[in-house]
Structures are given as structure tokens and as C-alpha cells.
């Protein structure tokens, strides 16, 4: 029994040990699982943190992205606005000759098109096939030539001035090309501007100038001829006109031809150019047996011309009768004519204004001297003062160069002032010129005062003007004026501000004027001499 009990106890003990072991094992297992859970929890936490960070990054990137989108669209709007507000047509041409996507609204308006992007530039102009081919080749050379300079591109530009006509009307465009690099490839920036208004203005001014020139030349010619002779010739021309309009039957054509020839010669001799011109045409018409109505209308033109001439002659005679003789005003008239002619020859537009406070008559010698001086000064003003209209506009000046010529009376002096609102003297460039011509070393030139520089302008052969032509720009103009001033015991002074004005003042003592007149003013002459 005891044995049984002992055995039973032993079995129970063993079972207890086993249960204990199992419990320990289970605890171990629990612990393992616990730590595994911890690890997983850690991992999870890490992932969450990473995820959070990623989310932040994404958000930030999105914010940045939308900011730059905003910036970009703002820039694009600015660019569009800029392009739209430009009055000049602006577009770019890519290496293949095709127009790029960006262009100003004015480009479309000027070219009269809905769109230009993606079209070959040569096709934007309604031209003949030959010129289209020329434009195509020009674009190719302008973009791709390795050697051609900007000046060369400008010189071979076939579209410097091009007439365009379409539903919107006729206009003259000026197209300029500038090369630039974009993304490593060559492009052309094209600037298109409308020159029609400018051209119309230029034509108008030229027409006005021509009219003024004609009337001034006529006045000048008449001033030089005795009034009786002018009247006589006008009378002959007038009676010729009368017999023409009364029908040719009264006189034979060959007689009329002889008369017309005679009047032509006389008219030309005394400077009635317009009458002489009409006579020449008349001679020609008679020679060709022109129909009567043609000759009659010629007679009417002749009558009108003679009326104008006679009216002018009356005014001039009235002027003479007031005892002023050949007035300073006549010189000014000649000068205005000279300036206009000068301007026309160089293609510059000039507005000559003149005023005179002078009532003394001038003798012929003095007249010639002052005339030469003034011609030189006005020429100088045109040659050195002229600037492109755009440049003048930038400086707030009117488009056309204004030259003011004034005769003034000051105490015992006669003062002649020629002032232009042109580009003025570039004193620094003059300083460099002196060195370049080898007159002075650069350290010597640096010490020159404004007075020295002014003095230099009067020296023979000095000029800062970069174009030399037959009439001015040789730097001789001022030398001539100084020479004349010397001859008249006068003075000449130049004042100028770069890009604002140039003013030359010539002063001559009034007694010199009287003496050369030889007038009966001996007391004064004696007092002075």
C-alpha cells in the first residue's frame, strides 16, 4: 500500500514538475511573443514617422510647385501684356526659318494676319516668288552665316522698307533683324515698325519746303532785278497769254512761238523761272501743233503765275520805297532757301525760323560777306545738328530739326545768331578726335579746357561729324565764319550742349555797317576813326 502510495506520489511529483516546466515554457513563449510584438510595434512606429515625413515632403513640393506655376503664369501674363502693348511688331525666327510661338499683338496687326507662329518668315510677305526666294535666302544667311557682321546683315536686309497692301490698306513697313542665341541655337529677333506715318509726314514737309523754296527763290530773283524790267517782262507774258486765250487765229503759230521764245529768255535772265518754264512748255506745245484747249489752259496757268509774280513785285516795291533797300530780311530769305535746298539734298528735314530786328540796309560787299557766313552756319547746323527722328523724340524734341536765324540790334552792334536744337557738340568725342588725328597726345588732350575745345572747332579741318560731304562736315564751316568775322572786325562765339543745342553768335560793330554803306554819316565815322 505504501509502495502504491509512494509510487502515486512520485507520479504526481513528476506530473507537477512537468506542469511546472510547461508553465515555464509558456512563460518563455509569452516573453518571446511580447518582444516580437515590441519589435513590430517599433517598426510600425518608424514606418509611421517615415510616412509622415513623406507626406510633409509631398505637401511642401506641391506648395512649391503651385507657387512656381503661379510665378510662371504671372510672368507669362506680364510677357503677354508687354508684347500686346508694344507698338512694334516683335517675333522670333528659329534656326529653321519658322516663326516661334511668342510675338507681339502688333506683329499680327502690322502683317495683317491671324497667326504667324510656325509659318516660314518668308511667307508672311505678299511678294513675287523671286523676292520670296530672296527673303528665304536672306533669313538662312542671317541665321547661319558664321562670318557676316551685324552691319552686313543690315546691308543685305531685303525688307528694310517693304510695301504691304491688303484688306487693311496700304502701309510701308520697316523690318529689322537681330541675331541672338537661345538654348544653344541661333535665332533672329525681328522688329517690325510701320513707317507710313513717318513717310507721309516727310513727304508733306518736303512739299511745304519745296513750295517755300520756290517762293523764296522767286523773291530773291526779283530783288536782284530792276522792278521796271520785271514789270515789262510780265506785261509781255501777259499779252502773249491774252492772244493765246483769244484763239490762235489772230496770230500765226510761228509768230507766237518766236514771242514765247523771247519772253522765255527775258524771264530767265531776270529770274522769273516759273514764267520761263511755262514759256518753254508753250513753245513745245506750239511746235507740236497741240490742240487749242491745251494751249488755252496753258494761257490760264501763265496768267495765274504772272498775277502771283506781280503781287510779289508790288510788295517788294513797297518795301523798297520805305527806303530800307536790300534788307537783312532778304538775306534771311536767301538763307532759308539755302537751308531747305541743303536739307533736301541730304534727306534731312529742317524747319528754318527767322526773325529780324534790323532795318538798316546793307551794301553789296557786306551783304555778300554776311551771306557767306550765314550760309556756312546754316549748312553747319544741318550737317552737324541732324539726328534721326526717333532719337529726337527720345529727347523730347519735335521730329524736325529747328534752325533759328535771328538778326538783332544791340547798342552799337549787329548780332546774328544761328541756333539749332540738334545734337550739339560732343565735347568728349572732340577731345578723342584731337588725339586720333595726331594733333595732341592723350595726356595733353585731357588738360584742354572748354575754351580750348571751342577754339579747336574753329580750326581748319576739325570736325567731330563722322560723315563728310560736299557742303559741310569738313570742319571748314566755322573756319569760314571766323574769317569773315575777322574781315568785319567782328567776333564769333559758339555755345553748345551735347544733344541739346548749338548756337553760334556773330557780332559786327554797327559802324562797320554804316561805313561800308558809305552813307552821309560822317560825324559818327569820324568819332570812331
Amino acid at each position: 500500500m505504501t509502495d502504491d502510495a509512494t509510487a502515486e506520489l512520485e507520479r504526481l511529483r513528476a506530473a507537477l514538475r512537468k506542469a511546472d516546466d510547461e508553465r515555464l515554457d509558456a512563460l518563455d513563449e509569452l516573453e518571446r511573443l511580447q518582444s516580437q510584438h515590441d519589435v513590430l510595434e517599433n517598426v510600425l512606429f518608424g514606418l509611421e514617422a517615415e510616412h509622415e515625413q513623406a507626406r510633409r515632403v509631398i505637401e511642401e513640393t506641391q506648395r512649391e510647385l503651385s507657387a512656381s506655376y503661379e510665378r510662371l503664369s504671372r510672368l507669362k501674363a506680364q510677357q503677354d501684356e508687354m508684347l500686346a502693348s508694344l507698338s512694334e511688331g516683335l517675333l522670333d525666327i528659329g534656326p529653321d526659318g519658322l516663326v516661334g510661338p511668342n510675338h507681339s499683338r502688333a506683329a499680327l496687326e502690322l502683317l495683317g494676319r491671324e497667326t504667324v507662329a510656325g509659318i516660314h518668315f518668308a511667307e508672311l510677305f505678299p511678294t513675287t516668288p523671286r523676292t520670296a526666294a530672296q527673303i528665304r535666302e536672306f533669313i538662312d544667311v542671317a541665321i547661319n552665316s558664321e562670318y557676316a557682321s551685324a552691319e552686313m546683315i543690315a546691308a543685305i536686309n531685303p525688307l528694310r522698307e517693304v510695301d504691304v497692301e491688303d484688306a487693311r490698306g496700304r502701309r510701308t513697313l520697316s523690318v529689322r533683324f537681330n541675331r541672338f542665341l537661345s538654348g544653344g541655337t541661333r535665332h533672329l529677333l525681328v522688329v517690325i515698325s510701320d513707317r507710313s506715318t513717318e513717310q507721309k509726314l516727310a513727304a508733306e514737309i518736303q512739299e511745304r519746303t519745296r513750295e517755300r523754296l520756290a517762293s523764296i527763290e522767286r523773291a530773291h530773283a526779283m530783288l536782284m532785278a530792276p522792278p521796271a524790267t520785271v514789270r515789262d517782262v510780265a506785261q509781255q507774258a501777259s499779252s502773249l497769254a491774252a492772244s493765246l486765250s483769244h484763239g490762235l487765229a489772230s496770230k500765226r503759230r510761228d509768230e507766237l512761238q518766236v514771242a514765247a521764245h523771247a519772253v522765255k529768255g527775258d524771264a530767265r535772265a531776270i529770274g522769273l523761272e516759273a514764267v520761263a518754264g511755262l514759256m518753254e512748255r508753250l513753245e513745245d506745245l506750239l511746235d507740236r501743233d497741240a490742240p487749242h484747249d491745251v494751249i488755252k489752259s496753258m494761257a490760264e496757268a501763265l496768267d495765274a503765275e504772272i498775277d502771283t509774280d506781280l503781287a510779289l513785285l508790288d510788295r517788294l516795291t513797297a518795301l523798297r520805297e520805305t527806303g530800307t533797300g536790300r534788307q537783312a530780311n532778304a538775306i534771311l530769305a536767301v538763307l532759308a532757301a539755302c537751308a531747305a535746298r541743303e536739307a533736301e539734298a541730304t534727306g534731312t528735314l529742317v524747319d528754318v525760323k527767322w526773325s529780324s530786328e534790323l532795318d538798316a540796309s546793307l551794301d553789296n560787299e557786306l551783304f555778300q560777306l554776311l551771306r557767306s557766313a550765314l550760309v556756312a552756319l546754316v549748312r553747319n547746323a544741318v550737317a552737324h545738328g541732324a539726328e534721326p527722328a526717333e532719337k529726337r523724340r527720345l529727347r523730347g524734341k519735335p521730329d524736325v530739326l529747328c534752325i533759328q536765324v535771328a538778326f538783332k540790334r544791340a547798342d552799337d552792334e549787329v548780332v546774328i545768331v544761328v541756333r539749332d536744337d540738334g545734337r550739339g557738340v560732343d565735347w568728349e568725342s572732340l577731345r578723342r578726335e584731337v588725339v586720333r588725328r595726331g594733333f595732341l597726345r592723350s595726356d595733353e588732350a585731357a588738360t584742354l579746357t572748354r575754351d580750348d575745345l571751342e577754339e579747336l572747332l574753329f580750326a581748319d579741318g576739325m570736325s567731330t561729324h563722322d560723315g563728310v560731304d560736299a557742303s559741310a562736315g569738313r570742319g571748314l564751316g566755322l573756319a569760314i565764319v571766323r574769317q569773315i568775322a575777322k574781315q568785319l572786325h567782328g567776333q564769333v562765339v559758339l555755345e553748345s550742349e551735347h544733344e541739346v543745342f548749338t548756337e553760334v553768335t556773330l557780332r559786327v560793330a554797327a559802324d562797320r555797317l554804316r561805313r561800308s554803306l558809305g552813307r552821309d554819316d560822317r560825324q559818327l565815322t569820324r568819332k570812331i576813326s
Binding site: 562670318y147 557682321s149 560723315g467
Partner: protein, 120 residues
């Protein structure tokens, strides 16, 4: 620097020479050739920094010379000085490799203004 002036007219060569000497460099060496062939031989034998070339010349004309010179890899500036005024012809010159184009008759100062940018 050395400048080569190519023209079949001795008068034109001397005018171009005077323009350079009067307005610009007095130190530049100026050598002359009477036609394209002679010019090409000179270009092969010595170093030239600027080439001034007439268009109409015997043996080898200006454009042909420019084409040959550019084909040989010569990269310095070439100025064409010519009485040919046709814009289409000027375009032809540009295509051949001319750097600038001056038409005759010219004022010496104008010529100088056009070529001075190439003269050091």
C-alpha cells in the same frame, strides 16, 4: 596686324591703303594683290588678319576667292569692297562668307568706319 588688299585697279588699292593709313592704324602692314589667284597664294604663305577684296577681277574673282579661302578653313574677317550694288549679289557675297560689304565709290571715312571694327 597684316591687311591684304586685293583689287585689279592700282588706284583702288592705293585709295584703300590711304583710308586705312589716314584714319586708322599706322602700324598695320598693308600688302596688295592684283587678283584672287595672287591673293590666295599670299594667304597660303603668310599670316593675314584682314582681307579686303574687290569682286570683279581677272583670273579669280572676289566671291570665288572668298569661297576658296573659307573652304580652306581661313576664319578671319573679309570685307568686300565693290561697285556691285545689287542686293541679291550682296546676299551671294554673304553666303560665300564675307563679313561686311562696302560699295564703291566710297568716301574714305565711310570705308574706314566699316572696316575699323576689324582692325586691332
Amino acid at each position: 596686324m597684316t591687311i591684304l588688299v586685293v583689287d585689279d585697279s592700282a588706284m583702288m588699292r592705293s585709295m584703300v591703303r590711304s583710308a586705312i593709313q589716314a584714319y586708322g592704324s599706322t602700324t598695320a602692314e598693308i600688302i596688295e594683290a592684283r587678283d584672287g589667284e595672287e591673293a590666295f597664294q599670299i594667304l597660303r604663305s603668310r599670316s593675314i588678319e584682314l582681307l579686303l577684296v574687290d569682286w570683279n577681277m581677272p583670273r579669280l574673282d572676289g566671291v570665288a576667292l572668298v569661297q576658296r579661302v573659307r573652304a580652306s578653313g581661313w576664319k578671319s574677317p573679309i570685307v568686300m569692297v565693290t561697285s556691285v550694288h545689287d542686293p541679291a549679289k550682296a546676299l551671294e557675297a554673304a553666303r560665300a562668307g564675307v563679313s561686311d560689304y562696302v560699295t564703291k565709290p566710297f568716301q574714305m571715312l565711310d570705308l574706314w568706319n566699316r572696316i575699323s571694327k576689324f582692325i586691332t
